[in-house]
């Protein structure tokens, strides 16, 4: 081991120190949310809960699972993730496979047609009006169908398919496979990593997206959990604002908190953690796929 100079040592301490602080700042909100969610709501309202629960309870989690609205929201989210991800990966990869064949007619036109959508869009309002005119608003499918084709993912798929050895498909063709058969039986099985990456990205998008449902859906029985959570947070934020309008004195804040029994802070933290748990659980295992996906996308995109 080389002996480090004074300057090098200082440099190391500074870097390790700053990175450790970043790590703590990143993790603390998760930790604190966990602590608050395990603390009794009435106790949380008195303030001061930071690193450790003061009045430990599992009631908040019990409430989350017993609350019909939230449980139903999870169901909708799961349907949405399954349908949205399945359809999107299937149709986007199919499109990408077709477009990976450079020699076909209209190839240039097809590519331009796809790429142009990355630079131009009608924007929020024309899309909103379109969904209304197609009578897609207030249906489950408004959260699925518009997201089936993702051009960005298509480019990643296409890049991957084009790098596959040509011989692989030739032999399948000679054995009498149709193009579709070749895709399903030969190409898909050897493209595991890219399918894993993009399935994950798509699933995370569908799991997290709250905005689509918040503008297109106003039926309670179709709300995904992310949108329900957003409504809960809205009411929490509103409480903070209320506190500010009444002059910010402690009595008014406490009164506001006590009035707010259903969506108390502890309960909303529990909902938040339950809603983000699936992602946190799969994340460590799939991190390398995520990283790979970003790199492929940024090189070609």
């Amino acid at each position: 081991m080389l002996k480090l100079s004074k300057g090098e040592q200082m440099f190391n301490i500074l870097i390790y120190g700053l990175l450790a602080i970043l790590g703590i700042i990143t993790l603390y909100p998760f930790w604190n949310a966990g602590v608050v969610s395990l603390n009794a709501g009435s106790d949380t309202a008195m303030g001061g809960v930071t690193f450790w629960p003061r009045a430990f309870t599992l009631d908040n989690y019990k409430l989350v699972f017993e609350d019909g609205r939230i449980a139903h929201g999870f169901l909708i989210t799961i349907f949405r993730v399954v349908a949205g991800t399945g359809l999107s990966v299937a149709f986007t990869s199919l499109l990408a496979y077709g477009l990976s064949k450079n020699h076909i007619m209209f190839h240039k036109f097809y590519m331009f047609f796809c790429i142009a959508t990355m630079f131009f869009s009608g924007g929020l309002i024309p899309s909103f009006v379109l969904m209304k005119e197609l009578h897609l608003n207030n249906t489950f499918w408004v959260m699925v169908i518009p997201f089936i084709i993702n051009v960005y993912n298509m480019i990643i798929f296409r890049t991957f398919f084009r790098e596959l050895p040509v011989g692989l498909e030739e032999s399948a063709k000679i054995d009498g496979c149709s193009s579709f058969g070749t895709f399903v039986r030969i190409v898909v099985p050897v493209s595991g990593p890219v399918f894993a990456t993009l399935t994950l990205f798509t699933a995370v998008f569908h799991w997290n997206d709250w905005f689509t449902a918040s503008i297109y859906i106003n039926k309670a029985q179709l709300m995904p959990v992310s949108s329900i959570l957003q409504q809960i947070l809205n009411s929490n934020l509103a409480t903070e604002m209320l506190a500010s309008q009444t002059g910010g004195n402690a009595a008014a804040i406490n009164a506001a908190n006590q009035a707010q029994t259903v969506s108390s802070k502890s309960l909303s933290m529990a909902t938040m953690l339950v809603a983000s748990l699936p992602i946190m659980l799969v994340y460590p295992f799939l991190q390398k796929y995520f990283v790979k996906g970003v790199l492929v996308g940024s090189i070609k995109g």
């Binding site: 300057g7 440099f11 998760f30 499109l95 924007g123 992310s226 959570l229 506190a243 309008q245 992602i279």
Partner: protein
């Protein structure tokens, strides 16, 4: 001519199954991307839902004029530009600095842990991040207030979220918190591609670690930085949307609106919440046109440095 046509038909016949794979995708893009592009014409009409798209009367540039003369115009433009510039000044270089620091870490395990931890918030939705922000900054139980009180920096809890003067800081801070790690991935990959001999040679010449960062690492990843900078400049009018909506109660919170309303949230508020579809479309179209112009301009500029997006 006739033979050419026949040849084309024969070619189509032999590859029809490939076209069949492409058409569903093309059709979906046509409906959900191209129809709205055509639908943007409602910016030049007085659209209302009952009359429908075709029967609404044309009104020319009325809605654009209304927007330019509205008292909101300058406030919206100022907020959009300020938030964007703050993001460009702070959120843009932050991941570069993180990548440079991570690259100096020699203990692989430590580096791994920091990377894993710092990527995590990227996968949380803005709803979750917003929940954390509200919880951290809350008056009665927020950890930030508790910490500052313990350090005797403030005497009583501050209501951070309802003071307009803090809004930009909170917005940028939560953006950095969410994406600093994930955005550093591309820079780390660029750094990994640098020839290690360069560092050895520099060390022989007596260059310290700071000097090596400045003279080798930074210049080597400059092309990547430049590409992302161009993209960021093209995005200057996309100051933020989800993040701002979440932190302002879906845009309903009027207390901080003077500093929080940017073009996109204004489109959302006027279009979806108050249903002035044509007016909001006009504002959105105004933004798109300038954005495309900015992207082309930024790309031209970068060609001078030998970089280009296309």
């Amino acid at each position: 001519m006739n033979t050419k046509l026949k040849g084309g038909i024969r070619r189509l016949k032999s590859e029809w199954d490939i076209h069949l794979m492409i058409w569903p995708g093309i059709l979906l893009l046509f409906v959900f991307c191209y129809l709205p592009m055509y639908g943007v014409l409602i910016a030049f009409k007085d659209y209302n839902l009952y009359r429908g798209f075709a029967d609404s009367p044309w009104v020319g540039l009325k809605h654009f004029r209304m927007f330019f003369h509205s008292p909101d115009f300058w406030m919206i433009m100022r907020n959009t530009l300020v938030v964007s510039l703050l993001k460009l000044l702070i959120s843009f270089p932050a991941p570069i600095i993180l990548a440079l620091m991570l690259n100096e870490v020699r203990k692989i395990a430590f580096k791994r842990v920091i990377q894993t931890v710092s990527y995590l918030p990227h996968f949380m939705s803005w709803v979750i991040v917003g929940g954390f922000v509200i919880s951290m900054l809350s008056v009665d139980n927020g950890s930030i207030n508790i910490l500052l009180m313990k350090l005797h920096l403030i005497d009583e809890p501050v209501n951070w979220l309802s003071k307009p003067s803090y809004f930009w800081g909170i917005l940028i801070g939560s953006n950095v918190w969410k994406d600093i790690g994930f955005s550093s991935i591309v820079y780390l990959a660029a750094i990994a591609g640098i020839d290690p001999h360069l560092y050895e040679a520099a060390a022989m010449d007596g260059a310290g670690r700071f000097r090596q960062i400045r003279s080798i690492t930074l210049p080597s990843i400059m092309p990547v930085i430049l590409i992302f900078l161009i993209l960021a400049i093209g995005n200057v009018l996309n100051a933020g949307f989800e993040d701002i909506l979440i932190l302002t109660n879906n845009g309903v919170n009027a207390i901080v609106r003077d500093v929080s309303d940017v073009i996109d949230t204004y489109v959302y508020r006027t279009g979806i919440q108050t249903q002035r579809y044509s007016y909001a479309s006009a504002v959105g179209l105004f933004k798109s046109v300038i954005s495309v112009g900015l992207l082309i301009g930024a790309n031209r500029l970068s060609r001078r440095f030998g970089q280009s997006l296309w």
